[in-house]
C-alpha cells in the first residue's frame, strides 16, 4: 500500500487543505457577520464598532493566510 501512496504527504495535504479551505473560508463568513452587524439598522454604536473590528480582523487573517499560502507554494 505505502509503495503506492505517500501517506505522509497525504496527511499534510488533508490537514492544510482543511485549515485553508474550511478555516479561512469560515473566517471570511465570520467577517461577513461582523459587516452585517455594523450595518444593521438597530445596532448601537458599540455593536457597530465591534462588528467592524471583527470584520477587519477576520478579513486580515484571510488575506494573510492566502498570501502565506502563495508564498509557501512559490518558495519551494
Amino acid at each position: 500500500m505505502n509503495q503506492y501512496v505517500d501517506v505522509d504527504a497525504l496527511w499534510k495535504v488533508l490537514v492544510v487543505g482543511l485549515a485553508g479551505g474550511v478555516g479561512l473560508v469560515a473566517l471570511f463568513a465570520v467577517g461577513m457577520v461582523g459587516l452585517a452587524a455594523r450595518t444593521a439598522p438597530n445596532a448601537g454604536s458599540q455593536a457597530r464598532v465591534a462588528g467592524l473590528a471583527l470584520a477587519v480582523v477576520c478579513f486580515t487573517i484571510v488575506v494573510a493566510g492566502a498570501a502565506l499560502g502563495l508564498y509557501v507554494m512559490l518558495k519551494k
Binding site: Y4, L10, K12, G17, G21, A26, F28, L70, K76
Partner: protein, 381 residues
C-alpha cells in the same frame, strides 16, 4: 533546415498547441463558479484568469523536470514519442472540450506519453509503481479530498451567515469568490504552464539543442505563458457551462467555499509534492459545494459522466498516443511525423466546426441547464 530541426519545430508547435488546449480547457476550473454566480461577467472572468495564468507561469521557475519522469524510462523518450504523446493529449482535450466535460489535461498528456512509450519501447519502459503513486492514486483521492473540504466549508458558511441579510451576503461572497478564483488561476498558471515548458525542454535536450543540466530557455517560458493565457482567454465555454451550471446550481457562498477549497488543496498539494490534477480538485470542490448545501442539488448524472470521462482519460489518450507513434513509424522519418501532425490539425478543425453547430459562448454560458450542453434546447421544449 535539416530534418531534425524540422522535427523539433513540429514538436514545439504541437506542445504549444497542447498548452493552448490546456488553457481553454481549464478556464472552467478557476472561473466556472464566478461566472455562474455573476460575481464576474464572463468576458471579464476569462480575461482576469488569462492575466493571472500568464503571471503564474512566470512566478516560479523550478521547472517540473518533466511530467513523464518517474512514469516512463527516460531512455525510451525520443522526439517522436514526445510528439505522439502530445498528439494523444491534444486529441483527448479537444474531444472532452467538445462534449463539455472537464477532464485533466495532465492525465491526457501522461496517457499519451505512456501509450506512445508502450508501443515504441514495450511495457518494460513504463514504471507501474510511478504511474500508480503519481497518477492513479492521487486521481482517486483528490476529488474526494476537495469535495470533503468544500462540503465542510459550504456547510459552515451557510451556518455562520444565516442571519446576515441576503444582499450583504451575496455581495460579500462574490468579492470573496473573485479573490479565491484568482488564486486558483495563478496556481494553474504556475503548475500547468510548467508542464509544457517541461515537455519542450525535454525535446530540446533529446535533440541536444541544450545540455541535460541546463535550465529552460527564456523563450520557452515566455511562449508557454503566452499560449496558456491565450487559450484561457478564448475560454472553454462548453466546460465552463457544465461545471458552473450543469453539475449543480451554484450560489455565491457555495462558489466561494468551492474555490476556497480548490485553492487550499492545490496549494497544499503542490507544496507537499502530492501530484493532484487541478481539474479533479475543482470539480470535486464544486460537487462538494452542492452537497454541502442540500443533498439533492448535485446532478449525479452529469457527475457520473464526468467521472466516466476521467476513467477513460489515460487509456483513451494512450490509445491515440500509441496510434500516432505507430502511424509516424510506419510512414517513417520526419515525413511520418508531418503526416500525423496534419491529421491532428484536420481533426482539431473538424471538432471546431462541429462545435460551432451548437455554440456555447460568453453570451449563453449561463443559460438554464436543461439536461444537455445545448443552451438553445429550452426554446424547443
Amino acid at each position: 533546415m535539416d530534418a531534425n530541426a524540422l522535427l523539433l519545430g513540429v514538436v514545439v508547435i504541437t506542445a504549444l498547441g497542447f498548452d493552448f488546449t490546456n488553457g481553454f480547457h481549464d478556464t472552467a476550473n478557476a472561473m466556472a463558479t464566478s461566472i455562474a454566480t455573476g460575481a464576474l461577467r464572463p468576458r471579464i472572468a476569462v480575461a482576469l484568469s488569462a492575466v493571472l495564468n500568464f503571471a503564474g507561469a512566470f512566478l516560479s521557475l523550478k521547472v517540473a523536470a518533466t511530467i513523464a519522469s518517474g512514469i516512463v524510462e527516460s531512455g525510451a523518450v525520443t522526439l517522436t514519442v514526445v510528439f505522439a504523446g502530445l498528439v494523444g493529449g491534444l486529441a483527448w482535450n479537444l474531444m472532452t472540450w467538445y462534449f463539455g466535460m472537464p477532464s485533466s489535461s495532465s492525465h491526457a498528456l501522461i496517457g499519451g506519453v505512456v501509450g506512445a512509450t508502450l508501443i515504441a519501447a514495450g511495457s518494460s519502459a513504463v514504471k507501474v509503481d510511478g504511474l500508480m503513486s503519481k497518477v492513479i492514486v492521487p486521481a482517486v483521492l483528490s476529488p474526494v479530498f476537495a469535495a470533503a473540504v468544500a462540503i465542510a466549508g459550504t456547510f459552515l458558511v451557510y451556518r455562520i451567515t444565516r442571519n446576515v441579510p441576503e444582499s450583504t451576503r451575496s455581495r460579500g461572497f462574490r468579492l470573496g469568490q473573485i479573490g479565491s478564483a484568482s488564486l486558483v488561476s495563478l496556481a494553474h498558471g504556475t503548475n500547468d504552464a510548467q508542464k509544457t515548458m517541461g515537455v519542450i525542454t525535454l525535446a530540446l535536450i533529446a535533440n541536444h539543442t541544450i545540455g541535460p543540466g541546463e535550465g529552460t530557455p527564456f523563450w520557452v517560458v515566455a511562449a508557454c505563458a503566452l499560449t496558456i493565457s491565450l487559450g484561457t482567454y478564448i475560454g472553454g465555454w462548453r466546460v465552463i457551462r457544465t461545471l458552473g451550471k450543469g453539475l449543480t446550481e451554484i450560489e455565491s457562498p457555495q462558489g466561494f467555499a468551492a474555490e476556497g477549497s480548490s485553492a487550499a488543496v492545490i496549494f497544499a498539494a503542490s507544496h507537499f509534492g502530492f501530484p493532484l490534477s487541478t481539474t479533479h480538485v475543482c470539480s470535486g470542490s464544486i460537487m462538494g459545494a452542492g452537497i454541502g448545501k442540500r443533498l439533492a442539488e448535485v446532478r449525479w448524472g452529469v457527475a457520473g459522466r464526468m467521472v466516466t470521462a476521467w476513467l477513460f482519460t489515460i487509456p483513451a489518450a494512450a490509445l491515440v498516443g500509441a496510434g500516432a507513434w505507430k502511424g509516424a513509424d510506419v510512414i517513417g522519418g520526419t515525413g511520418g511525423v508531418a503526416v500525423i501532425f496534419a491529421v491532428a490539425v484536420v481533426f482539431a478543425a473538424a471538432l471546431y466546426l462541429a462545435a460551432r453547430r451548437v455554440p456555447v459562448t460568453h453570451a449563453n454560458v449561463n443559460a438554464e441547464w436543461t439536461g444537455t450542453l445545448d443552451p438553445e434546447k429550452e426554446r424547443v421544449a
